[in-house]
Amino acid sequence: MSLLRLLLLVLFTLAPTLALAYDVLLLQSMHDKGYDEAVRGFKRDYRGSVRRIVLTDYAELDLTRITREEHPKLIIAVGDRALELAQKQHAAPVLYMMALNAKPRRSAVGVSMLLDPAKYLSVLEELGCDRVGVLYDPARSGAYVKRALALAARTRVRLVLREVHAAKETPAMLASLKGKVDALWMLPDATAVSPVSTEAYFLFSQAERVPVITFAEVYLSMGGAVALTIDRNDIGRQLAELAQNVLDGNQPEDGGDPPRRMVMRTNEGVVRQLRLNPLVGR
């Protein structure tokens, strides 16, 4: 009888511990379709145990206590807020995805939301656009533009850059590109592309009859010619591979990897009107 009591005590004591035992703590900034897609991709390829916490489900989340008590081997941050929160603890390594604007305290490893500039340059080259206007905020997209410039140097595409430090400068900067560009490359830069100034790109495109190469399919309906968008599910799968490598003891390279897969969409009407070279095989 006493043995039975002892067994029951052990069982009740260990049961929560057994239930909370996992390898990866997945911190998700909020419930969002894009995040969910990426998480589904991650879970699809990652076979280990995962605990998922959506930050917006909690008024205040004590991540330090969680990591101390639960000892996750890896923290996956989904979104800017989750990344910021994850970097506040030091108990577990952090991988991120779907974080566009976060300013990490230290170098972080993950999958970026920015496609490789080479893909854009390739499409621009294919469209026959030599002079490509780019508006960007150096603070946000300086590195990306720098890389793009470097890659553009190897192509016939010449980037005409305009720095934008405030959203309201966008129309004027665009105006300054009149007659100087054959295409506009819209970067996912929150300063250069604000909800108010977004239509300035397309008005410019209409007025100057130059295509706008953008980063999201939603802009095609506003007048964009080609959209090179990320595959959020594939980003999750890509990060799952990266996480598996980290858990396997491999040291990942610092910085964010660009998404390995892109989805290209075109607005055929705009392409036809602007008499651009048709994009095939994409």
């Binding site: 959203a167 129309p171 004027a172 108010v196 100034s197 239509e199 959020r232």
Partner: protein
Amino acid sequence: MRRKKLRLPPYAKSFQFRLYLIFTGTIALLTAAFVTFYVLTELNAYRSNMEREGRLLATVLAQNARLPLFAENREALGILAEGTARYPSVLSVSIVDRERRLLAQQVKTKTVDADVIDMQVPISSPSGVLSPESALLGQSQGNEQRVIGEVHLKLDTTGARERLVTLVAASLGIGTLFWILVSLLCYQILKRVTSSFNLLLGGIEKIGNGTLSARVGLDGDDELGRAANAINAMAASLELRELENQALQDELLRAMRLEVQEEKKLVMARLIQTNKMTSLGLLLSSMAHEINNPNASIRFSGHMIGKMLGDALPLLDGVWQEEGEFYLGGVPYQRARQVLTENAGKIVENSERIAQVVQGLRDYGVGGGGQLRQRLEINSAVSAALSVLACQMKRDVQLHTSLAISIPAIAGSQQQIEQVLINLILNAMQSCAGRNGEVHLGTRHDAARGEVVVEVRDNGVGIAPETMERLFEPFYSTKLDLGGSGLGLYISQFIVSEHGGRLQLHSALGKGTVATVVLPVAPVSVVGVLATQHGQHSADPLHQVR
């Protein structure tokens, strides 16, 4: 207070005029209502269009100014405001940012009319535009708009007022023209429609005025046509009745004319009769005068003969006594003495009777009705009549008298009654001419009826029915060739009726005739009961009294 009644001219009472008035009034009201409705609708539409135009302008300006406003590009905003202000109805344009700071303004005129449309349209960020991160996350486009400024637009509505004036003038003109045209059309239609009424009315008036041959010349199977047919049928019926009435009147007139002619004939006959009677009266007077003179001489001679005979008889008696029987005129004295005495008396008596008869004729001729109220005993009248007729008696006719006793007296003229009785007895005797006849004369008293009845019955030839009807006509006689005057029964009936009685004749052809004279009994105060008379009449020894 008595209200003065509005007097309408005659044409205003016509059905056509009233209908026309109603139609034109209704059309005028409808036209006015339509014009008012049209003007108001047009004005509201114009104002609404203006507001819509202003809102459209402001919206377009707000759309266009979105980026310049976001970029705080005052120059671009100014150009946009100037462009908008070029519209004629725009008075002023101003663009302000979210903090109500004026970024651009264009004012055409400072005069602010009270009737100015003030438009305020917010300048909003475009909806459905996402941030780059949201776009990358594939979030759906929202429709949330953020107001970043405002466009103020003032529109001039003087155009609306001018348009109102123009619209009212045009509408009134068109409405009046329409009213005139429709009124003319109505007049023509009503004229055509009411012509049927006029035809109907004219026909009815003609028929009502008595021209029953008039007809309502309306064709058609509508209500008026049926009414016209009914009136025509009624007029035809009335005409037929009128013709029938006319025929009846003509017939009546003819009958009246005939009656008048008959009456005239009767009057003429009476006049002729009167004339004849007058002539007869004159004749009788003349005859009486001519008879009276010799009769007076005869009576005087009779008196003288009687007187001288009275003186001579004693002498002759003395002679007879002395000398015995002797003859006078071939007759023995004693017989002669008796005959002389009687004949002398008869001469005087008959002479006096002749005088009375002549006097009676004279009285009758000169209308001696004044003796009608004399006391008369019917039996004495019968006796007197028989005396007159004594010399007329025929041998083959037997006269029987049956005079009742205690017959009350009647009031009347004895001579006239005698005249009646003489006529009746003569007629009875004449009806028995050529055969052995009997004439019964009787009197009686019908106490129950208060009448005295004299009956003359014969067994003569009787009277034919066709003669019976004309017996009492004057100068009608079946014995004109035998000297009849045709006045006997006529005068007799006249006399009897003058005495309040009646003369009745009953006859059977071949069997005889009964003539009855019925006379009313005189009141007791007038007459007394007469003594009974019996026996044979003194004038005629053949007369027998039962």
